[in-house]
Symmetry: C2
Subunit: 514 residues, 2 copies
Amino acid sequence: MYGRLSRRANASTVKRRRAPGARAGAAQAASPRDQVRAWRQAHEKQIVGDFATLLSKPNVATTLADVDANAVYIQGLLETRGFTTRLLRAAPGTPASVFAELKVPGAKRTVTFYAHYDGQPISQKGWISTPFEPSMRTALPEAKPVDWKDAARLDPDWRLFARGAGDDKGSIQALISAFDALKAAGIKPSVNIKLLYEGEEEQGSPHFASLVAQNLETVRGDLLIMGDGPMHQSGKQEINFGNRGFVGFRAVVYGPLKPLHDGHYGSWAPSPTVMISSLVMSLRDEDGKILIPGIYDDVRPVSASDKAALAALPDVETDLKKAMGLGRNVGGPRLADGYMRPTLNIRAIHGGDDGPNAANAIATEANASLDFRLVPGETPARVRQLTEAWLTRQGWFIVRGTPDLATRLAHPKIVRIDWDAGESIATESAMDSPAAKAVAASISRTAGYPVLKLPFMGGSSGMAEIVNQLKAPMVGVAIANYDDNQHAQNENLRLGNLWDGIEVYAGLLADLDW
Amino acid sequence: MYGRLSRRANASTVKRRRAPGARAGAAQAASPRDQVRAWRQAHEKQIVGDFATLLSKPNVATTLADVDANAVYIQGLLETRGFTTRLLRAAPGTPASVFAELKVPGAKRTVTFYAHYDGQPISQKGWISTPFEPSMRTALPEAKPVDWKDAARLDPDWRLFARGAGDDKGSIQALISAFDALKAAGIKPSVNIKLLYEGEEEQGSPHFASLVAQNLETVRGDLLIMGDGPMHQSGKQEINFGNRGFVGFRAVVYGPLKPLHDGHYGSWAPSPTVMISSLVMSLRDEDGKILIPGIYDDVRPVSASDKAALAALPDVETDLKKAMGLGRNVGGPRLADGYMRPTLNIRAIHGGDDGPNAANAIATEANASLDFRLVPGETPARVRQLTEAWLTRQGWFIVRGTPDLATRLAHPKIVRIDWDAGESIATESAMDSPAAKAVAASISRTAGYPVLKLPFMGGSSGMAEIVNQLKAPMVGVAIANYDDNQHAQNENLRLGNLWDGIEVYAGLLADLDW
């Protein structure tokens, strides 16, 4: 049933390959990429309809029942297509990863494709549509609702708005559609396929390490392909070879037990809003430098090959500043250079009543939410230790719950620290392994130009646990437009990115070979 | 109808004074204070019922219709008691002040009593009852609901919870009940009475200066008594001779136009949460010192008499720390010493999504809400100027509205500053004027001990405008328990404070003389 590509295919042979009896000209559509494209063009509304159905399932990572419903639905999609599937859980009551496997007769390599189907919270203000009622909209900046079902044609610059569209259900849809396209064209995959679709990535994957450890042989592959994260801002195809690690925490500082009139007590009672500002500014400066002593000690110098790869990336910074309304940037001039060092972001800071409810009062407490991105060499445990040591040196007494009265009276400066459940070390994989080179060659063939290479991405991934446990080569292949608003309101996927993603995944499935 | 007190009454004569035919012992109740007390004891439930009705009228300062309904209701209460009343407004559409006047035959002095009937916003979390459904509750810390209507007796440690109970409708209720008590006892006021009850104090009195200027002769008195603010923390009767001034603002700083994934952009995109923390820390330090150059230049040294008055205040700081769960204080050790210098409080700081909605993102903006308390010699205009000059020197480009794209791109650091509509200079009045001495003598007689004297209070007051325009002596007479949670959730007035307040006001009405 499958028409198998030559195991020795390369860019030139693939381009020359024709289906038996193919004719010259537009009607020929004989290359695998063109066959996939033709199938997609004939099935665009069906693909969008399927994707909208997938996106209509609420997937906020903290709501287990919702997440499980997604898992079961995706499992069904893959069973229908002939995959053997299982739901893997680290323990009862934790989110499932959807595992699916397809053995291909004659294939010698196994590729494990990773993505995640859970999503970030949805309560950010300013959604122009309902997060789980997918809304097709015209190109930015208008983004007007459009009736895609009755449209004569789907504009590739249209975007489908929904939580999870870009991060990360788009990768799942692209792979499934790629599989359908190859099947319709009679092209047999060149490798055994394993799919591992995580359900708690947006929580920081608190149980994923255990899940992977318990199922190491099940998920094992000769190559790991991570389908998560945005594409390069230039819009060019890009692959990466790892992710930064992650560790985050929430800090709460305490003032008076009851709000106090700030005229009568403002010169005397400690102010939690000031305390939290001070705590923040003791951890990093405005330019992004982390001020925790020792935090950079474990950071490895950037290698010559990484420097070369970074230098080869197209300039995007000027356009990014314009698009984001930024009159400056912090850190160094090049965006991706910053991925080579740890970053501390203040996700949120809150204290006191805001807006029309503001009272002239001293708040009872204030909090900040922070997260580190870690580079190879750093560990979450060491970062936690250095952070707490630095806070302690500054006079903070660290507690793990709400302090009682005796604790409050005994310690002048108290901070409650709650570390995020999910944390990870960075992952990195060689840029020049045979498997990595095969991925680069495949995508370059599909794209028609040399794929961009990023030593590792700025973001983090649940994939880190598989990479670090399996020690297999890993390549990140992202398909989402960079401006997909992931983690924010109005998340979206540009249709053209979905179309390109289908071709990229189909290419990988069809001709990966090393 | 009125039994007039001797113009030469003093503590000893008042204590010796008896109603004609009075007998010895408890039944005698012949001193004015005792007569007032006896009337109150006989009418406690009626007083509480009237007070609860007053408190049930929503009075959030920003809702004009609600505020107006309060004004009309209070006007009616005073008309019924024989006062000539008017509603004064600075302009149509601004909150009314209730003005009421009662001329007393033979009286040579006129005393203008000030209070305000509007209240702070109510949306703070943690109200144990509904802010405008007054709830009687047992003594702290239990504060359990109690059926006062059917109770055998009202415990003076019970508290009535409602927005405005302590700040500042309690003063209005105390004066009205004091008037009723004197009338019932046949005691004629010793002075002509003017009442001026403001309706926008909690907004910072943006129109009150104009209102006073337009009605200067109407409101003029030989003495101004301000009935606002809490009593001394020791529970002792206290008078003050002014208030600090006020000027506040809200600052908004800007990051990317859309939230950005903090893994991909955290090392490159400016962070509004960090920027607002940095802005805050550039204005004041954790110990309360204001860091704006020149801000202390206009501050007058504390006079010897003020120092003596401050030194005479009882120690309350140790108990306050215990009550508020504070392991330290900022500034100097004595609470009231801090009132002699300006204070900058950070009312609120906000940026990014909090709690379960937190996203690993760089926020688009962050804000802080701040207010200064000013001492004599400082002006809001100068403080505004110094603050903005300091921000500008630090590289902030100040805007007055949301910046457009061109502005964002042209300026690396933008802060939107919105100064509060209401602002005031400090007020101060001589501690040793004849009128001030008469007030001190009256309250000392009522209380049975020498009243405490505070040069000025930490808080601010709409009264500042009358004081500064009329140049009449001013004395602040507060009756609310210090722990009335003013400006916060669970505002309350302790019943015993209302009872004492009625006696204090009755004493002032009956025997003020200079």
